[in-house]
């Protein structure tokens, strides 16, 4: 009843091409932003902010980044973790070299380095497709991980081999380092994620986004229509890696506070890939849903036994969580291979025609 587009007529192409052409969707987005920027900061406790919302947003951004490459341009990558790592190490080096520059600016700049690295490892994509390409991105993953361990310069030759984030302020508020409150870090992460998500949505609906989807759907036809495959794919690699790099830098600067090379391991790559697949390939909104599912579900699963008062060991819970996540992944792939984004659309479709079944 309340989700009807009847009576909303587009009188110009501008309106028809808006990100959210249906009025209810616009209102919905407004409500979500209101919750994110006002309600959550007012009500949530530190644990919720620091351990649920911040990682969720960081992962959402990374999932958007990978989605650009895999969901929109159709290039399967298993090197996301390493590209995030490049961002993190670059941002860390930048803060060492330019201690006085605003840390947010440095985090945003660090993405450029991972964009360059991403584009270099994207070069084979001209000749290699599908699963084969996935294996070459694994080369990036393992090689870069090795670099993070072996190149002492990257972590300022710390004896520990880890990067530790210094305390930095912006407008008198501490936003990075241990003293930064979860609330301050939350606002930074939220703002960066929302802005990048908005900007990339613009790209995705325009000429460049279309050229990526052309390559994804039918690369030969795209090429015969004047799309330069290498240029287009490399751009997707660069843009995707930029976003992942920023997410990786945020991960260490505003969430973990310190990172070892193993923080950016293949496990992270898989985690992000799951978010993208379960959320829905080729959907920015889906990236958020997938990130929420993959990050929050285990936390919930771990909390369930103690909530129910069942006394089982922490590791048993962990094992059960693994089983349940694995089973749910398979379940959702079977039920809807196009991810939560498609489920969301189906749900909206139902609302639209409600109370009639079709």
């Amino acid at each position: 009843m309340f989700y009807r587009e009847a009576g909303q007529f587009k009188t110009s192409y501008e309106k028809d091409q808006a990100l959210f052409p249906i009025r209810q969707d616009k209102i919905g987005l407004g409500v979500i932003l209101l919750i994110a920027f006002v309600v959550i900061p007012l009500t949530a406790n530190d644990f919720f902010l620091a351990s649920i919302m911040i990682p969720f947003l960081v992962f959402s951004l990374a999932a958007i980044g990978l989605n650009v490459l895999t969901g929109f341009c159709g290039q399967l990558s298993l090197g996301t973790g390493a590209f995030m790592g490049v961002g993190a190490y670059a941002a860390y080096k930048l803060t060492t070299i330019f201690p006085d520059v605003n840390v947010i600016l440095l985090v945003l700049t660090s993405g450029i380095f991972s964009a360059i690295v991403g584009a270099i490892f994207g070069l084979p994509s001209l000749r290699i497709k599908g699963l084969y390409l996935a294996v070459t991105t694994l080369a990036a993953q393992f090689f870069l991980e090795w670099c993070f361990i072996r190149i002492g310069w990257l972590y300022n030759y710390n004896a520990s081999g880890a990067i530790e984030i210094p305390t930095r302020e912006m407008l008198g508020v501490v936003i990075s380092g241990a003293e930064a409150t979860p609330l301050a870090r939350y606002f930074v992460v939220l703002s960066i994620t929302v802005v990048i998500a908005f900007l990339i949505s613009n790209v995705l609906r325009g000429r460049i986004g279309r050229s990526w989807m052309m390559i994804r759907d039918m690369d030969i036809a795209a090429e015969l229509m004047g799309i330069r495959p290498l240029q287009t794919k490399l751009m997707a690699f660069a843009v995707s890696s930029y976003i992942c790099g920023v997410a990786g830098a945020m991960m260490v600067f505003f969430w973990l506070n310190a990172a070892e090379p193993s923080s950016y391991s293949i496990t992270l790559s898989f985690q992000i890939l799951f978010m993208v697949i379960l959320g829905g390939l080729g959907s920015v909104g889906g990236a958020f849903m997938g990130a929420a599912f993959i990050w929050i579900l285990p936390i919930v699963l771990r909390a369930i036994p103690s909530m129910l008062g069942v006394d089982i060991g922490a590791e048993t819970v962990e094992h059960l969580a693994f089983m349940v996540i694995g089973a749910l992944i398979i379940f959702f792939l079977i039920v809807e291979p196009h991810g939560f984004a498609r489920l969301w659309q189906i749900a909206k479709q139902k609302l639209r025609v409600w109370p009639f079944p079709y």
């Binding site: 949530a44 406790n45 530190d46 644990f47 620091a50 351990s51 649920i52 990682p55 201690p99 393992f142 090795w146 361990i149 300022n156 710390n158 004896a159 520990s160 081999g161 880890a162 530790e164 984030i165 210094p166 305390t167 380092g177 241990a178 003293e179 969430w255 973990l256 506070n257 310190a258 990172a259 070892e260 090379p261 193993s262 923080s263 391991s265 849903m289 929420a292 599912f293 929050i296 579900l297 936390i299 919930v300 771990r302 909390a303 909530m307 060991g313 922490a314 590791e315 962990e318 094992h319 379940f331 959702f332 039920v335 809807e336 939560f340 489920l343 969301w344 189906i346 749900a347 139902k350």
Partner: protein
């Protein structure tokens, strides 16, 4: 199918909504002292982690069962599984710190590094018993971090000292080759600066064999290199699945086991046991007692193992790493007791705990009172020295069990201490602005 889709989406939504609902509220338990234990009983490091987790758990639980806790207040123990994973470790930290956590034992150098800067902000001390950041020994720079009884650098100096003794004097180290095989992570790399320094001082050659975490279980290349380089001694800094593999590989290339010395984290019975008789002669450092001949361990058996209140098997009691976990909990318990004495409070908080740990003095008499006579070298922590650089001993695997073969060996504090201070200064400079110590010294 259509219905299934709608339902599953509803389910997913419900999960999301519940997630928001379950965010735990900060609870300050009024009638107990809350000690979260960051453990790992799963993952590649579980082989070592389970022993530690059981040891830590059992001693505290035994105090609850036998004495009703510490100072009449029960200890609330909560395990949080980290799988040795830094992300999960931080999540565990965030989810437990609001409940009035007294102290954290991350059992991972990676997680320790993440908690160090948070400790002073959240006012909860970090206790890394014989691991973590060596430089944290400098109490004036790291008032919230404790790494008693000794640091990796102290340990590395003991190894070199011991090798020197074997060779009949430190001067005989000249021209010798010492191989260092280590887990290529923060943990394994910690001692390198000290080893390099000692190599320069004593004129031996240090050969490094890093083992990446992903390659822990296939070390044949590292050991082939060892075979080629023919070092006179091998020193190992390993953990989890790395240990048994390394010892097996060493046996495979016929490296003389009696010249292979591990850090105290490579001292597990399962580590050496994997190669059985072939590992006879393998040595490891240790600072906690081996065996069950301690009244406190017997109490654990009586109160917990025999009554089935623990996951610990009887065979696990008294093993090196299990006892290490016990020692860890002894330090926690004594820290709580000291804090109670200092503050006069029964239920303490993290700040009190910090004072308690800083004033910790585990004398020989006190150890005897605890039923742990000779279990550990007397441990004393001071405001300046949070590690204490206590001596360690060497134990040898005889094919079936570890046997203590040396006296307590003092580390080369004269070399180590200045390096620790330099490292602490370096840390605070790299992490500027690092807070100045503002906590008063309780002693």
């Amino acid at each position: 199918m259509k219905h299934l889709k709608t339902w599953s989406f509803a389910a997913a939504l419900a999960v999301g909504v519940t997630a928001v609902g379950i965010a735990p509220q900060p609870v300050q338990a009024q009638d107990s002292n809350y000690v979260p234990l960051l453990t790992y009983r799963t993952g590649p490091f579980a082989g070592s982690g389970i022993f530690i987790a059981n040891g830590m758990n059992d001693y505290l639980q035994m105090l609850n069962e036998r004495d009703g806790g510490i100072g009449g207040v029960p200890i609330e123990i909560e395990e949080c599984e980290t799988s040795y994973n830094a992300q999960k470790g931080v999540e565990c930290y965030e989810s437990t710190k609001g409940k009035g956590a007294l102290v954290y034992n991350p059992y991972s150098t990676g997680i320790t590094l993440q908690l160090i800067p948070k400790a002073s902000v959240d006012k909860i001390p970090v206790l890394s018993v014989g691991y973590g950041l060596s430089a944290a020994a400098i109490g004036n720079v790291f008032p919230w971090v404790f790494n008693a009884p000794t640091t990796y650098w102290d340990g590395a100096s003991v190894v070199v000292k011991y090798i020197g003794e074997q060779e009949g004097g430190m001067e005989n180290l000249q021209g010798k080759k010492i191989g260092y095989i280590f887990l290529d992570a923060g943990f394994g790399r910690e001692p390198i600066p000290l080893l390099e320094q000692l190599a320069e001082t004593y004129g031996f050659e240090l050969l490094q064999y890093p083992v990446p975490v992903a390659q822990m279980q296939s070390q044949s290349s590292q050991w082939l290199n060892v075979r080629r380089d023919r070092p006179d001694y091998m020193v190992m800094w390993g953990w989890g699945a790395m240990n048994p593999t390394a010892i097996k590989e060493a046996a495979k290339i016929r490296f003389p086991m009696e010249k292979f010395i591990g850090v105290w984290w490579s001292a597990g019975e399962d580590d050496a046991g994997a190669a059985g008789q072939d590992a006879a002669g393998y040595k490891a450092m240790n600072f906690s007692g081996v065996g069950t001949d301690f009244p406190a361990i017997q109490d654990i058996k009586t109160y917990l193992v025999d009554t089935g209140k623990t996951q610990t098997d009887e065979e696990m009691l008294g093993t090196t790493l299990y006892n290490r976990g016990v020692l860890n909990s002894v330090i926690i318990a004594e820290g709580i007791r000291t804090a109670q004495e200092l503050t006069g409070k029964k239920v303490i908080n993290g700040e009190d705990m910090r004072m308690g740990l800083e004033a910790l003095n585990l004398t020989e008499e006190r150890l005897a009172e605890l039923g742990l006579s000779g279990f550990s070298y007397p441990i004393q922590i001071t405001c300046e020295d949070h590690a204490g650089s206590h001596p360690v001993f060497i134990q040898e695997w005889d094919g079936e069990r570890f046997v203590k073969i040396s006296d307590w060996i003092e580390p080369m504090s004269d070399v180590v201490r200045p390096l620790l201070e330099a490292a602490a200064a370096d840390y605070s400079e790299k992490n500027a602005p690092w807070p100045e110590r503002s906590e008063a010294c309780a002693q």
